[in-house]
């Protein structure tokens, strides 16, 4: 990097805000999709919107690509650095700027950790609804970029339904203040467009989130099954019966065993083929009524046991097991590939089976833990990235799973984003015209194409252009 640029950035952020030495930069070479790596030239850690904007201006003038990063928990390579690029992290922007319990919103900095948002409003008996499994680490800003989900998005919806406003720093370093917590947007819904744009349009530095009142009663049930099909059928029927659960999560045998052998042990019986974790919330009468109806469906679909959490501690333990499942997979193999496809909820059982068959065909170790209520599957393939032949099989199986799900009317991603991992599969879902429109929108926000280049939008056109890669060696490491 040019010495003048380096000096300008240092003068804005000071030494604490610039990560320049190689050993520290290595920590930023990938997000949680470790298959794809690239060392950034520099990592910048601004403390607020103003510093972010000043840095972005310097980088704009120097023509340097920028990759925004929250906590790096993303699973699609959305925060993977690019060749000759700079990472801008939000780790030092963690303040709650305003909390308005009466109007049920909060204004926070982008680097605030998801779970800290709910902690901050706990005293007002409110919470922030999107709860990705990585919520103890992931940031609200990262959630905005990916339109993150989580188990309770079945009831409350993904991140986009909870974002009222944003302060965005554009690629040129301009500050766009759309933070007013008003439920109706003025003019076009730029906030709605920005959420889920995967860092391609700018960096959100401040976020106005909607807060939700805590329910009076929460009931957590655990249905135990001798086979995964029955658990899937139970979910399909609960949805068809219009029963208002707040979460419907399935874990299969391999996942249960990994969880129970880990620090996240939740008390799931290890001799079951599947567990269905169900949560119902609301007023007591409502919860009791819904729970009774759900229990009838569980029995009809051969749940051999149904357990209810007896207290908050037990409830939290059951959820710790679910949310720690990805971490627990480390016991199966050193690396984990987490697919993130969505399927029509009426075809849950069929498509879970298809993914199982695909992994069997490629001789891969598959475990399933997924947001069954939303039809959002996470086929998890355990592997060892030091084995290149196995890596090839993992990637091919991942592609096959995406193809099968899209053919069945599904989607490439439900909450992890397209990133680098699925960008070439975008053409399965969208026509060249559809993609042209998305590209043209990107160009309006980012005329010099320096914001998170190479992500989300497929490399199209002639072969020569297709070989252009954001990675030093042409392909991800």
């Amino acid at each position: 990097m040019d010495a003048g640029v380096r000096q300008a950035l240092l003068s804005i952020l000071g030494k604490q805000g610039v990560v320049a030495d190689r050993t520290r930069r290595v920590a930023y070479e990938s997000d949680a999709l470790a298959l794809m790596r690239q060392l950034p030239d520099m990592v910048l850690l601004p403390r607020n919107t103003d510093e972010t904007a000043r840095c972005m201006k310097v980088l704009h003038e120097a023509g340097i690509p920028i990759v925004p990063r929250g906590a790096g928990t993303g699973l699609s390579g959305g925060a993977t650095p690019v060749k000759n690029g700079v990472v801008i992290g939000t780790a030092r922007m963690r303040r709650v700027l305003e909390l308005n319990a009466e109007d049920q919103y909060a204004r926070v900095e982008a680097g605030l950790v998801n779970v800290d948002m709910t902690r901050a409003c706990k005293e007002h008996s409110m919470f922030y609804a999107p709860d990705p499994s990585s919520q103890k680490a992931c940031t609200i800003g990262g959630n905005v970029a990916e339109n993150a989900g989580g188990p309770h998005c079945f009831k409350y919806g993904s991140t986009t339904r909870h974002i009222l406003g944003l302060v965005i720093v554009t690629p040129e370093g301009e500050i766009l203040d759309l933070s007013e917590p008003h439920p109706d947007h003025e003019g076009y819904d730029l906030v709605g467009l920005f959420v889920g744009s995967e860092g391609l349009l700018g960096i959100a530095t401040e976020i106005t989130v909607r807060l939700v009142p805590e329910p009076e009663v929460v009931e957590t049930l655990l249905g135990l099954y001798h086979n995964l099909d029955d658990a899937c059928e139970t979910v399909t029927e609960i949805i068809a019966a219009h029963l208002d659960a707040s979460a419907l999560e399935i874990l299969d045998r391999l996942t249960i065993q990994a969880v129970e052998a880990s620090v996240f042990a939740a008390g799931y019986p290890t001799d079951t083929d599947a567990v269905l974790l169900i949560e119902v919330e609301g007023h007591e009468v409502e919860v009791q009524s819904t729970t009774r109806a759900i229990e009838e469906i569980l029995a009809k679909h051969n749940a051999f046991d149904v357990r209810k959490s007896r207290d908050e501690f037990e409830r939290m333990k059951l959820w710790a097991g679910r949310k720690g499942a990805f971490g627990a997979m480390g016991r199966i193999a050193p690396d984990l590939y987490v697919a993130d496809v969505v399927v029509p909820r009426t075809r849950l059982r069929e498509l879970v089976r298809r993914t199982t068959d695909i992994c069997a065909e490629f001789d891969l170790k598959l475990s399933n833990v997924f947001h069954a209520g939303d039809g959002n599957l996470h086929p998890n393939i355990s592997y060892d990235r030091r084995n290149p032949e196995e890596v090839e099989r993992v990637l091919e199986a991942g592609r096959r799973i995406m193809h099968v799900c899209v053919e069945a009317g599904g989607s490439l991603t439900g909450e992890h984003g397209v990133g680098l991992e699925k960008r070439e599969e975008m053409e399965l879902m969208f026509t060249p015209d559809d993609l042209d429109v998305m590209e043209s929108i990107k160009l309006v926000w980012d005329p010099t194409q320096r914001m998170n280049p190479g992500k989300l939008l497929p490399q199209r056109g002639c072969r020569e252009i297709r070989t252009s890669s954001p990675f030093a060696n042409g392909e991800p490491a």
Partner: protein, 415 residues
């Protein structure tokens, strides 16, 4: 109106009606029966630099500020029909010209409800409702409609048909272009088809009405409802001149919880009258048509943060000689029936006073009265919005481009 253009459109696209555009007079209306023809009409407009106003059935034409030019109107009313209703998945995909009432009937077969529950559903088309960003009385329960649009297929100004999103309840693939299109009043594209998330139809419902001595008592009762943390499906306050202010509560759900809620609300609203029991469709209809009660009238929609609602009502009460309002407290929204002879100056003054307390206003059906000055140009995002619009419609084929303000109606910002 140019006879030449009408004749030409008739030659190209068959029969051609006319429609009155507020402030401009009559214009030719083309209502293609296929998407191919609709796209041809757009290509013709672009090639000849004609200005097109996309509509459904035109029920919200008066919501837009005066347009400076429209050459012809393009209606999607003939592009109607359900593409896919998936009861097991709780989703619906339909063509833009389908009446909301038809869609409601379709999804009722699977015990689903459509959102938004708009008034006048027999005359409102899906495309028109989504393009106008209209909410219904169900907003308090399920949120604004933009949250439940799963995907859209639209025609761009150059006649290309493009898609965003999909038909699934959860999906983050690609940019959410449909969030940009929804509420853009046809200034970016013509909506051809949309997919929506559906909601369970309630097993039963109850409506309670409570007359209050005055506005102060009504606000006190609404305060006690808010403090109870009980969430009715819908809650409304109607003030109609010298009549007693009236609070209406809609309670829905599974039978047992709904009955329990009813008992709670009877305590919160002593002396309330229960209108009907169990007849969910009738009760829903009662709430839904509230803002059309008394016929179509010129109005002002005011929205604010819940904490400012009492102040907004105070301003309205002090400035309007005879207060006629429909209030949705849970979403802090007030629909104001405007006096038939309000001056532009008085209207501007009212809007400015409301803006000072952080409220936003949108005129409906008052095009002739609209003040000329606009303030959205001060919105910091205006420049970017204009670039987005000109990117999607470089030749300004869509009429809504004249003033970006037009996409949401007259708006006054806080000073």
């Amino acid at each position: 109106m140019s006879d030449t253009l009408k004749q030409r459109l008739e030659r190209e696209f068959g029969s051609c009606d006319v429609v009155a555009i507020p402030g401009l007079g009559e214009r030719p209306l083309v209502a293609p029966s296929t998407e191919v023809v609709l796209c041809e009409a757009l290509r013709l407009a672009q090639a000849d630099r004609l200005r097109v106003l996309p509509i459904g059935l035109g029920t919200k034409l008066s919501w837009m500020p005066a347009l400076d030019r429209v050459d012809f109107v393009l209606s999607t009313r003939e592009l109607a029909g359900v593409v896919a209703y998936e009861p097991g998945d709780g989703t619906l995909t339909a063509l833009a010209g389908t009446r909301m009432s038809e869609l409601e009937s379709e999804v009722a077969t699977g015990r689903h409800l459509l959102t938004p529950q708009v008034p006048g559903a027999t005359n409102a088309t899906l495309g028109g409702v989504l393009a106008s960003g209209q909410s219904g009385f169900d907003r308090a329960a399920v949120g604004p409609p933009k949250h439940h649009i799963l995907g859209m297929r639209v025609a761009l100004a150059d006649g290309r048909v493009v898609t965003s999103g999909g038909r699934l309840v959860k999906n983050v693939t690609g940019f959410d272009m449909h969030r940009l299109y929804a509420g853009s009043f046809g200034s970016l594209c013509v909506v051809l088809e949309a997919s929506l998330r559906l909601f369970p139809a309630p097993e039963c419902s109850f409506v309670l009405e409570r007359e209050c001595t005055d506005l102060a008592q009504a606000l006190e009762l609404l305060g006690s409802i808010s403090a109870s943390k009980l969430a009715p499906t819908a809650l409304a306050l109607d003030v109609e001149g010298s009549n007693a202010p009236r609070i209406t509560v809609l309670l829905t759900g599974r039978k047992e919880p709904a009955q329990w809620l009813l008992a709670q609300f009877k305590t919160l609203l002593p002396a309330a009258t229960q209108l009907e029991t169990g007849a969910a469709p009738t009760n829903l209809q009662h709430m839904r048509e509230a803002d059309l009660r008394g016929g179509s009238w010129a109005g002002l929609r005011v929205s604010c943060l819940p904490s400012r609602l009492a102040s907004v009502l105070g301003v309205l009460e002090s400035q309007l000689p005879q207060l006629e309002i429909h209030v949705r407290p849970a979403v802090a929204e007030v629909l104001v029936r405007m006096p038939s002879k309000v001056s532009a100056i008085a209207l501007t003054s009212l809007q400015q006073d409301l803006a000072k307390i952080g409220a936003r206003t949108q005129l409906r059906g008052t095009a002739a009265l609209e003040p000329q000055s606009t303030t959205l140009a001060r919105n910091p995002a205006f420049g970017l919005m204009e670039k987005l619009r000109s990117n999607l419609d470089p030749h300004a084929t869509f009429a809504g481009q004249v003033s970006l303000l037009g996409v949401r109606g007259q708006t006054v910002e806080s000073v």
